[in-house]
Structures are given as structure tokens and as C-alpha cells.
Amino acid sequence: MNRSQKQSRFAIAVLKGIAGFVVLILAFLIGYIFITGLPNINWRFLTAPAKAFSSGGGIGIQLFNSFYLLILAMLISLPIALGASIYLNEYAKDNWFTAMIRTSIEILSSLPSVVVGLFGFLLFVVHYKFGFSIISGALTLTIFNLPLLTRNIEESLATVPDDQRQGGLGLGLSKYETIIHIVVPAALPGIISGIILCSGRVFGEAAALIYTAGQSAPALDFGDWNPFNIDSPLSPLRPAETLAVHIWKINSEGIMPDLTKVSSGSAAVLVLAILIFNLSARYIGRKVFEKMTSMD
């Protein structure tokens, strides 16, 4: 074996070592989260309200808040992202204006989430006087979510072959009708996967919510579903600490005796939720695709 072959062998062994080390780190991370967290998860933990000073608190309200904020933010951002991505992929010409818009979307997606949160604080909490509330949080999450969702939807629109568009136009549909009735349905599996993946990101976001949705979770009356009552879970004007904010909050200033138990349980729930989002994004996307393309 000559020198360069020896060198090659050695280098590849080193690379394998590095990859192995990284796998170890990643495995340790995931293992740590689940091994320390999963034993703390039970039905009571998932549904009971949090306790500030004594042990035995749960994450029920935080979990509800997380889902409620996620759904609201998605409802607001989906139409905007869909419109923007349709324009970018179907109408936009390749000129300086489109380039500028693409750049601004990139800028928005790379802004630190704490900056987005501060902007939301300035605009919604202070200027429009919504206070620390669900609605401020949902609007801020929308800003945070828009660039990524737009990019995801645009990518799935771009995968629809041009034959589909030509077919629609050939049948005498206008361009917009073609897009709404042919292109968007054809891209639906990709769009749904994109939405679910973005949900995972929104679900775990905390920095953008600390100063918009607030850091407190007042008790809710789960028998009252009138959104205009402040105790109602649906009330948009109540402060709502989410699960991710809860983990941060109790770890920076929590004083309950079972702090590590609650936080490791919450972290496991959060990661489990993200895992479910990731897996279901693939599964549901494929199922929708099969359902839409099957002949029978």
C-alpha cells in the first residue's frame, strides 16, 4: 500500500470517528430527553394546572395554550402565505421587484425570533394595547411563521408540472381559476406537509412569545366556551403562557420543589409533539397524495 492510500484510509477512519461522535451526541440528546422526561408524563401531568410553589403541578393549561396559539397563528398565516406563494410562483416576473420581495422574505426568515417578539411587543402589546394576550401572541407567531410557510408552499407549487397548467388554460379557464382549481389541489400533499412542519416550529417557539403572549397562565374555566368571557379558554385577550415559555420560565425563576421533574416532563412532551408533527407530515402528505391520485 503506498503513501496516499494509507493517508486515504486514515482520513476516512477519522471521518468515521467524527460521524460516530456526532451520532453519539445526537443519541445522547434524544435519549436524555426521553429517559428523564417520559417517566414523569402521565394523564394527570398533562391535564392538571401548574403550581408555582408546591410540587405536583401539571402542564394542562400550558399545553392547551400552545395548541390554541398554534391553531390561531396557522389560521391567520395560511391565507397570507398561500396568496404570497401563489403570486411568487405563478404570476411574478423575474425582475427587480420580485428579487426585492424575495430578499425581504429571506430577511424575515433569518431575523432572530427575539427581535420578532420585540416587534410584536411594540406593535400589538403597547401600540394597539392588546396587552399580553393570545391575540398578540398569535399575530407575532404569524409574522414568525410567514416566511417559512410561504417558502414551503411555493416549493410545493413549483413541483406541479406545467402540463397541468396548460391543461387548465387549454380548457378555457383563466389563469387564476387554473391555479385555484388545478394547481393548488395538485400541490396539496406538499402544502399539507409544509403546514405540519411549520406547526412544529411554531409549537416550540418561546422567545417570540415571552413579551407578547405573556408569562402567566391564569386558571381557566373549561366549562365556559364563550370567547368573550375572560376565564374562557377561548378568550383571545387573556395572557397565555405556552409550554415552551413554561420550560424557560420555571428554569430561570421557578421555585417549585419538583422543578426538574416538571421541566424534564415538559421537554419530553414538547419533543414528542415535534416528533409527531414531523412523522405525520410525511405520512399525511403521502396519504393525501394517494387518495387524490387513485383512479377508483
Binding site: I25, I101, G200, S252
Partner: protein, 309 residues
């Protein structure tokens, strides 16, 4: 009369045409809205951030070179104590250190995933990195708090809170980001580059080192810049492990702070419009400018080294 009516009908836009215009306008307004948000964020934070200098008359030099951060009071030498240098240094230190540590690991892993064992890479490493990219930063912060901080305390001494812990947490956090982007750029190197190199008698390592990595350099650089941007803007994970003392970092294991950690910890305790509050907004402005700078860097690298197929 009949003709006029007909002419009018012909010149009027059809229902479909009007619908088309309406739909197009709807989509366009969504796009304009996103742009308005971006401009709004930049303008709002810039005006708020500038008020420290314009309204409160803090000199820019004091802000960027002062080392004492206690807005509202004065330094012993009589300047206002609005020195942001400790935070700026802290932010840059954790970002650069984390990038330096993770780059070799990320590139090694990415090369393993694409060049050495693509099957195992696609089966195990790909889904795991994807999951880790999606793990919320608070979870990284929590693990940092319960694993990294005690580790640093036992091995290096001190309280465990500090730049070093922040670096370790950010290292693990940006690793998956850099890996997955580097993998993309390695995959975009055409296969015939590798074939040509091996046909010339180059070993596998020579091919990787002298051909594949060279060809993918712009993409790898972009990945590193993205990782750094993420590290620089990361707030909570760092805030949880860095110790939050707005002092000049003397060593890597003494409590320090970053721009983001001071922002998250301080914003709730100040009154809108006061100097204490304005100074925090100036930190946010620095953060925003750095984020724009990273963006510019990515654009610049992309334009220089785009793969022309």
C-alpha cells in the same frame, strides 16, 4: 342603439377577466403585506433603537466602547453607564467559538453521510438531524442547564455558568443546521466530478478533499454563516446557561451575557420610553443589523460561488 349596446358589452371585461384580476390582486396584496411587515420591523426597531442616541444623547462611542452596563447611572468617570461592549463581546464570542467547534464536526458528518456511507446516512443520520433541527431552543437550554452547566462546573471550575457553557449549547444547537445544509451542498456537486477524479487515480480521500469539498466550498460557507446567524440570534437557550452578568468576560467560565440574554431578561423590568428601556432597544437594533449583515454575507457568497450546471 343595438350596435352601441353590443359594443359596450364587448368592451366590458368579462366576468372571468374580472375574477382573474381580483384573484391576482388578492395574491399580490398578501405579498405586499409581508413586505410591509419586514419594512415595519426594520423601521420600528431602528427608530426605537436610535432614540438612545438622539433623545437621551448617549454618545455612540460610549455605547460601543463602554464596559459598564447599568443604564440610568453614571460611570465613575462621569459618562452614562450605557456601555454595551460586554454584551457585544459575549455575543460574538459564543457565536464564533460555537462555529469554530461545530464546523469540523459538521463537515465530517456531512462527508460521511454523502461520500462514505450514503445508505446509513440516509437511513439514520438524515432523519435524526432533521428532528434535531426542529427541537425547540428551550429544550436545548434545559439540557444545557441540567447537563452542560454541571459538567463545566466539575471539569473547569467556577459556577458553570458562562461563555463556555453557552458555546457548548450553541455548538449542539447549530450542528444539525450546518450538517443538513452542508449535505445539500455536497449532494449538488455533480457525480462526474468524483468519477473524473477517481479515473485520474486519486484516492477516495484525495477526491473528497481536493475535488468535492473544493467544489462545495460556497455552499459550506453559506451553511456556516447560517449556523452563526442562528447562534447570534438565539436567545433563551443561551440566556439559561450564560449566567446573565453584564460584565466584561474575563475568562470562559465566569458569568457573562449576550445581547439576546440581556434583552430577554431586561425588557420586562423597564418602563417604555425610559433610558433603561431605550438602551435595550439599541441592543435589539445591533441584533437586527447583525442579522442583516449575515444575510448580506449569504447573498455575497451565493453570488460568487453559485453552481452553474
Amino acid at each position: 342603439m343595438q350596435n352601441q349596446k353590443l359594443a359596450k358589452q364587448l368592451f366590458k371585461k368579462s366576468k372571468t377577466a374580472r375574477y382573474e384580476r381580483f384573484g391576482r390582486l388578492l395574491c399580490f396584496s398578501a405579498l405586499v403585506m409581508i413586505m410591509a411587515i419586514v419594512i415595519g420591523i426594520i423601521v420600528f426597531i431602528a427608530t426605537k433603537g436610535m432614540s438612545t442616541f438622539l433623545k437621551d444623547h448617549i454618545s455612540v462611542r460610549d455605547f460601543f466602547t463602554g464596559t459598564l452596563w447599568n443604564p440610568g447611572t453614571k460611570t465613575p468617570s462621569g459618562h452614562a453607564a450605557v456601555g454595551a461592549l460586554p454584551m457585544i463581546v459575549g455575543s460574538f464570542l459564543v457565536t464564533i467559538l460555537a462555529a469554530i467547534i461545530s464546523t469540523p464536526f459538521a463537515i465530517g458528518t456531512a462527508v460521511y453521510m454523502t461520500e462514505i456511507s450514503p445508505k446509513r446516512g440516509a437511513k439514520i443520520l438524515q432523519p435524526v438531524t432533521e428532528l434535531l433541527v426542529g427541537i425547540p431552543s428551550v429544550v436545548y437550554g434545559f439540557i444545557g442547564l441540567s447537563v452542560v452547566v454541571p459538567f463545566v462546573r466539575n471539569v473547569f471550575g467556577g459556577s458553570g455558568f458562562g461563555i463556555l457553557s453557552g458555546t457548548f449549547v450553541l455548538f449542539v444547537m447549530i450542528l444539525p443546521t450546518i450538517v443538513s445544509m452542508t449535505v445539500d451542498s455536497l449532494k449538488s456537486v455533480p457525480t462526474y466530478y468524483r468519477q473524473a477524479s477517481q479515473a485520474l487515480g486519486a484516492t477516495k480521500w484525495q477526491t473528497i478533499w481536493k475535488v468535492v469539498l473544493r467544489a462545495a466550498t460556497p455552499g459550506i460557507l453559506t451553511a456556516i454563516v447560517f449556523g452563526m446567524a442562528r447562534a447570534f440570534g438565539e436567545a433563551l437557550a443561551v440566556q439559561m446557561v450564560i449566567g446573565n452578568a453584564s460584565l466584561m468576560p474575563h475568562n470562559l467560565i465566569s458569568p457573562a451575557s449576550t445581547l439576546t440574554s440581556v434583552l430577554t431578561a431586561g425588557m420586562g423590568n423597564t418602563v417604555m420610553g425610559s433610558l433603561q428601556n431605550d438602551a435595550l432597544w439599541s441592543l435589539a437594533l445591533v441584533l437586527l443589523v447583525m442579522s442583516l449583515f449575515f444575510n448580506l454575507l449569504v447573498h455575497f457568497i451565493g453570488r460568487k460561488g453559485a453552481f452553474s450546471k
